[in-house]
Symmetry: C2
Subunit: 414 residues, 2 copies
């Protein structure tokens, strides 16, 4: 069992970096987009905690950070744990941070008890996991695992046109070590569920079987600016209306039930010139599709593409272009690691269920390198996340990290 | 007949102030939002032209500018002409500017010919006619005519929170003279049509019978930020989806044909936090409705209000609030002034038709003070406006301003 108070203090301390007060709800949220000043401050804080825990810290060319605790066998591949500390703009204190600070808390506990493991244990902090600043999620871990090239990642830009490479340099996190990760022995990530399943089942801990497929694209619509008062409806090419029709259609695809467990979200939407009496000349939106079934995901993407073609053909002057931002298939996790996690939960006397992850996680990238699975911790309020209301109790966090500790110990002595 | 070349030079010269190049179309547009630096530079240029033409310039507390040419009868009320030079962000060279620069060109022509009129002639430049910076259109003329209070106008804010009063001071256009306009003898405004009617009828000049009703409101939707991957569809309160449903519904109201000649536009639309994997917590949009029939306008507004209520009730966690930005009824113009304009067009051998204005104009506010009507000049490309493609030929502009000259002469000798 880890020290739940100490873990909680770390979580609350990190949440002060990039904190903001939400006027409407009175809640305190976290806004620590990847490689902003706030994220850099958070990284410095967590590196300090890593060093206090005796970890040897290295930073790679993608800004991924690893803290290493040596094992007794110098030739053995390490067991890796970790997650991310970058956040969305309306985040809570837990998403990603629980996995990183939980990993550090495991190390502190091992140190206190004088426990040495055969294999090294490493705690990783992956860059731009959220994908909301530079447009591709799980970016740092995807580059570390070799799925995406480093150059691709460095060249990505945020909405101001700043490159990720430039922001790494600016914040001082363009580290010297090679970004390609030597295959660890295993990877285990502890994370809040961010969904309602554990709470609905009234179970504290989940063993994650895999991650559903994610499809992100950006749609740009060009229409024609025109006067709102004088332009007859039949002469309009209204980019904003087209965007609205896409959003409504996506919900219809979901509600039809014909695409399995499809979820669809338009989180980003802008119109130009964005003025009351001008028919929008241009609109830009992102489409985030999720599906546990890759074939159903493909069908949903095709249905959307067909709708976009029809929309373009329905009105002269309207053109639609799409750009792929990110795409990951359904990723199943390793059954052996899942069993080790379930066994650890049993050892702690904790009820657990198996469940699929609705969110993307660094674990799905590292799974390409080594046996991988995840531990989910129950969230309150329907497990709401990406919202300042995101909350897990101190007990729930401590339980999840205790299961992480036991799992890591087992794997590190294999 | 006025000097068409000189008029054209003024139009093209003013269009360079606030000009921008539209990358996609290769067109040169104008972005001179009210009381920005660009608008202030435009104002200084036009004041210089007024003074060159011998006009005595005064500025009122609303930033409205008047240039006066004295008549022979010191007790006679002036004949007023004018329009505005503020623009939308994707404007052409003509909207508003034709009326102001046309008025100055009339004065230049009278000066050249040594013509004196019994009544003074004044050329007005009204502030924030477009309404896209501070949210209420025809603002300067509405305050001059006494429909809206000066304090209300001064307190309006742009999206950065800057007040109109503050921007008047910053740009030096917080003039000393009383904003309430002494009733002129008559008001005539020359403007591009901004619509397709004159081009479709193949007629150079229109006599405007009135302006259709305008209803502007802002809708703010509060939902709940949530994770795009983990949040089941039935647990979402998606503010962006609600906005899209409103936009699609507005087009359905128009297409139903049940609300007369209704036009509906959503020109402004933002979502928050505006990130790919977050269900929008908040959305804000403007609704611009136009209708020549006030009763039909009321019915359309009621239909929208009912839809908003249903939408709010359809999903827990969704709240909708509306804010009135601007509202003007159908305004009929004076038949006597219309006849004078028609007569002037006949004198110039120009075919003309009568038509209703689809856009709002300062004339509809000044109409509360004195007999008023407008001259429309034909626009090319379906009369497209609020778009850099907006275009009227030099000949069309010269013709319209020649009709203005003859009309003003007649009215000024009454
Ligand atoms: N865990 C998490 O919020 N990841 C961000 C990527 C996603 O949108 O699923
Ligand atoms: N003429 C013109 O574009 N006026 C702006 C007000 C409106 O939106 O109709």
């Amino acid at each position: 069992e880890v020290n739940g108070d100490r873990l909680w203090q770390s979580l609350m301390g990190l949440a002060e970096i990039g904190a903001y007060d939400d006027e409407r709800t009175g809640l305190r949220g976290v806004d620590r987009l990847a490689l902003t000043d706030a994220d850099a401050a958070g990284r410095r804080q967590v590196i300090a905690w890593m060093e206090d825990a005796g970890l040897a810290v290295r930073i790679d060319r993608m800004g991924n950070i690893y803290g290493r605790r040596e094992g007794t066998d110098p030739t053995a591949a390490p067991v890796l744990t970790g997650s991310h500390i970058d956040s969305v703009a309306t985040a809570g204190a837990f998403d990603g941070c629980l996995g990183v600070l939980g990993g550090i808390e495991v190390v502190r506990t091992l140190n206190e008890r004088g426990i040495r493991t055969r294999r090294p244990i490493e705690v990783g902090i992956f860059a731009e996991e959220e994908g909301v600043r530079f447009g591709t999620d799980m970016l740092g871990s995807a580059v570390a695992a070799g799925r995406l090239p480093l150059d691709y990642a460095h060249a990505l830009t945020d909405r101001k046109g700043l490159t990720l490479g430039g922001e790494l340099t600016r914040t001082g996190f363009d580290g010297p070590t090679d970004v390609r990760l030597d295959p660890p022995h295993a990877y285990v990530e502890c994370h809040i569920e961010q969904g309602p399943v554990l709470a609905e089942s009234d179970v504290p801990v989940g063993v994650v079987t895999g991650v559903q497929g994610i499809s992100w694209q950006e749609i740009t619509i060009h229409g024609r600016a025109a006067h709102a008062g004088t332009t007859p409806t039949h002469l309009r090419a209204d980019a904003g209306l087209a965007a609205a029709q896409i959003i409504v259609h996506l919900r219809e695809l979901v509600d039809s039930g014909e695409y399995g467990d499809l979820r669809a979200t338009v989180g980003h939407l802008i119109v130009y010139p964005d003025l009351t009496n001008i028919v929008p000349a241009r609109a830009e939106l992102t489409v985030d599709l999720r599906n546990p079934d890759d074939a159903q995901m493909t069908r949903a993407e095709e249905a959307l593409a067909a709708f976009l073609r029809d929309l373009e053909n329905s009105r002269p002057g309207l053109t639609l272009t799409t750009r792929r931002m990110a795409k990951t298939p359904y990723v199943p996790f390793d059954e052996g690691v899942q069993k080790t996690i379930a066994q650890a939960a049993d050892d702690h006397g904790l009820e657990h269920i198996s469940l699929l992850s609705g969110a993307g996680h660094d674990a799905q990238e590292i799974a390409a390198l080594c046996p991988t699975a995840m531990i989910f911790v129950r969230g309150e309020y329907d497990g709401i996340s990406h919202n300042p209301r995101e909350y897990s109790t101190p007990e729930a966090c401590a339980r999840g990290v205790s299961v992480l500790a036991t799992t890591l110990l087992r794997l590190a002595d294999q």
